[in-house]
């Protein structure tokens, strides 16, 4: 029996209209519409489009949660086993919509994919969450895109684990996936080294990361009036770790009031960090978060005020994506509170 597939397309490819119809609410039609007919042909009877979701591009971008819900509902209604979106070529909002559709379906556990031109803004936003195949920049490439998408979809449906991006042809998602190799790591290392010595081609198993750069802020002009906050990845928390920040791979951060405290003491504070010897931080948490010294400086008028709350998490195998999100949240909250500068301590 053929696999059932849901196809997501926009108002234009759905034959409803162009830009003037971009606010059109989504509708679901049974069977294939527009490019879906070509998909049915390319799927060669192994899979077929059970239903098509047609949605205005503006509407989708403005109502992402609603459209994502509609997708999962439609999948359930038709008992579909996969989703394909687009192809979107170089249409920006359509690319965003297709990325949303494919990544929501994948998040729901469904094999899914879309395709678009390499400069489509939807690519950067959604590539981590979905398989996206390359297309030309306009719909004249439909004839090439559809068979490639259909072939990849059938591969996903068969339960095969896709190989790396280079081999399979999709845009690299930048997502690391564990796998068992035929040989142990040490043998792989020596084989790779011998190739490197001989100047032969070899393939690293991991390309070294590239980190963000941020333009530095200007210096604080009047420190004696400024409110300074403390933030740490050293895991200093109130005794008992009330927010259960994990010793490693933290999934949250905490905000802790220090009120009028002049000093962090071992009876009230501890570290939750599991990546270093906790003895010294537990004896005197000021060794990680210098509240005592900043209080002195506040008294001396060197700084205006030490902000009444500090933020803390455990930086130990913590995902950079989480750290970035928390940094943005903490930064926004401190800025709202009129904090002018932050001292960030790490262990």
């Amino acid at each position: 029996m053929a696999y059932k597939v849901i196809h997501y397309i926009n108002q234009f490819f759905g034959g409803i209209g162009g830009e003037e119809m971009a606010d059109r609410r989504p509708e679901v039609r049974g069977g294939a519409v527009g490019p879906g007919l070509a998909f049915n042909k390319a799927l060669g009877g192994q899979a077929e489009i059970a239903a098509t979701i047609i949605c205005g591009d503006n509407y989708c971008v403005g109502h992402q949660e609603e459209v994502a819900r509609l997708i999962t509902d439609t999948v359930a209604q038709y008992q579909a086993e996969a989703l394909v979106a687009g192809p979107a070529f170089n249409a920006g909002r359509y690319g965003m919509a297709c990325g949303l559709a494919a990544s929501s379906a994948e998040a729901a556990g469904l094999p899914s994919l879309t395709a678009m031109y390499r400069e489509n803004p939807g690519l950067e936003v959604y590539k981590a969450g979905a398989y996206i195949l390359p297309t030309t920049d306009n719909a004249r490439g439909m004839g090439q895109a559809v068979p490639a998408m259909a072939a990849f979809l059938l591969k996903l449906l068969s339960g095969q684990k896709p190989g790396d991006a280079g081999t399979e042809g999709y845009f690299e998602r930048g997502v690391r996936v564990n796998t068992f190799y035929p040989e142990v790591g040490a043998e792989r290392a020596v084989t790779m080294l011998l190739k490197k010595i001989k100047g032969q081609d070899f393939k690293t198993e991991y390309r070294m990361p590239v980190f963000d750069r941020v333009t530095p802020r200007p210096g604080v002009r009047n420190l004696a009036q400024a409110t300074i906050a403390l933030v740490t990845s050293g895991g200093i928390v109130p005794k008992g770790n009330p927010d259960h920040i994990a010793a490693s791979s933290a999934r949250n951060y905490g905000a802790y009031e220090i009120g009028d405290l002049m000093d962090l003491t071992s009876d009230q504070f501890q570290t939750a960090h599991g990546g270093y010897d906790q003895t010294y931080a537990n004896q005197d948490p000021d060794r990680v978060l210098p509240v005592d010294v900043l209080r002195q400086m506040e008294k001396e008028g060197k700084i205006g005020r030490l902000y009444h709350t500090y933020y803390s998490t455990v930086g130990n195998g913590t995902a950079v994506a989480n750290a970035r999100k928390w940094g943005e949240e903490i930064g926004a909250r401190l800025k709202n509170e009129g904090v002018e500068a932050v001292i960030l301590t790490s262990t």
């Binding site: 690391r176 011998l194 991991y206």
Partner: protein, 428 residues
């Protein structure tokens, strides 16, 4: 230096009246071993459990794994500084009870100890689901402080491993492996057409409870030094580590270092294996700079053209790895790095805390943040409630049906950075 490993294969462990090996079965006199271990006054109790491959058994939290070995002849005794005197080892004959391990467990110095499942999906990730295990459930005396508790548990594992082997000295070995590490004058002249390859062996040394010991010396106090691979086989390097279970090098993987094995495997054929340099991963920048410079200087003195560099742990040791890589490559020594990854549960984050353009050849033990569900087991040795605080477990990771949802970093040896396993990762 020449060392023979006399290996006796063991497939089953039993408790019995005499400790001895016969027909692949090791019987263990519990009372004798117990009395020996309790000579350490810091221990108040020890219980023994057995676990075999395929058992529906979970062992946690596991601190260390040790392969039973003892000297048959040659200078010194295995585990110098802990069991043997601080005499140089790595020569003569050493008895190995292969196919089994001593695991130390009990409520030790959590949070960072590991899980070993003997069957089910978790078993694929730990080397110790494939060994028959004597599990020591240890209870340090209540008034014993943390660091002393770690010491006595570490010692108990080594003592027990040596004890088991030493009671089997009269048994006949199933296989004999011979390893030789010639004097430098010969090593340098040998195999002139083959590239000289060294091994930079990084040891965790961040501080008490994150330690490795070399001949009884805390590795944070060493300068990088040359060591014979045969000394490693005799337990000159042992683990005192309570850091994340997935990529700490327990004593067993030191004894069976797979990089040394792989380099010996190609020695004289594809390369000339000229030496092992142990170095550390300390907590100050000056130490990191000194150790990386010194280790690479030793590689240069050996005339190495290329080197494997293996890391232990993650986070700030990534900085040591990068320093070693950059300094070696800039000295014209080609490198392959062996590491593991912390790329987030979804695999989309940067895997390392540090980076360098020189690191063009990397082998990975896999993403330690990947999660796995470990079904309930019929028997749990140790303490299941510890899953909440074990690194990689997170609060609430014990589910109502008794299963555990954990990152694979909670599994002992899962992403080993000596390249002990087949696990790796690729980018989609």
């Amino acid at each position: 230096m020449k060392l023979e490993l006399h290996k006796i294969s063991v497939r089953e462990l039993r408790f019995g009246e005499t400790t001895k090996v016969a027909g692949g079965v090791l019987s263990i006199n519990r009372d004798e071993l117990k009395a020996l271990l309790l000579e350490d006054s810091a221990l108040s109790g020890v219980e023994f459990e057995l676990a075999h491959p395929g058992d529906k058994t979970r062992i946690m939290p596991v601190k260390d794994a040790i392969e039973p070995r003892c000297k048959l002849d040659g200078p010194g005794e295995v585990f110098p500084g802990f069991v043997g005197p601080v005499e140089t080892v790595g020569e003569g004959r050493t008895l190995v009870l292969s196919g089994l391990a001593v695991l130390t467990t009990g409520r030790l110095v959590a949070p960072q100890e590991g899980i070993v499942d003997m069957s089910g999906p978790g078993a694929d990730y730990t080397p110790f689901s494939r060994t028959g295990n004597l599990v020591l459930v240890l209870t340090p005396r209540e008034d014993v402080k943390l660091h002393e508790a770690e010491r006595c548990c570490r010692q108990a594992g080594l003592t027990a491993a040596h004890y088991l082997a030493s009671r089997c000295k009269t048994a006949r070995a199933d296989t004999v492996e011979s390893y030789e590490f010639p004097p430098l004058r010969e090593a340098m002249g040998a195999h002139p057409s083959l590239p000289k390859v060294g091994y930079v062996y990084m040891l965790q040394s961040q501080g008490l409870l994150h330690d490795t010991w070399v001949y009884g010396v805390d590795a944070k106090r060493i300068l990088p030094t040359l060591i014979s691979p045969t000394e490693i086989m005799d337990g000159a390097v042992i683990s005192g580590n309570c850091v994340s279970a997935c990529d700490k090098n327990n004593t067993y993987v030191h004894q069976n270092n797979p990089v040394i094995k792989a380099l010996y495997g190609r020695h004289g054929k594809d390369l000339n294996f000229v030496g092992v340099i142990i170095t550390n991963e300390n907590v100050t920048l000056a130490d990191k700079q000194r150790s990386s410079s010194y280790a690479i200087k030793l590689l240069k003195m050996l005339g190495a053209e290329a080197a494997v560099i293996s890391e232990e742990g993650f986070g700030n040791p990534d900085a040591d790895l990068v320093l070693n890589c950059v300094k070696a490559e800039r000295a014209g020594i080609k490198t392959v790095l062996v590491t593991d990854e912390f790329a987030g549960a979804n695999g989309a984050s940067q895997s390392l805390a540090d980076s360098c353009v020189e690191g063009t050849a990397v082998v990975t033990g896999g993403n330690a943040n990947a999660t796995i569900i470990l079904p309930p087991m019929e028997k749990v040795i140790g303490d299941l409630s510890q899953a909440d605080v074990i690194a990689g477990g997170f609060f609430g990771s014990k589910r109502p049906d008794g299963s555990l949802e954990v990152e694979i970093q909670a599994i002992l040896g899962a992403t080993n950075e000596l390249g002990f396993n087949k696990l790796g990762a690729y980018t989609i």
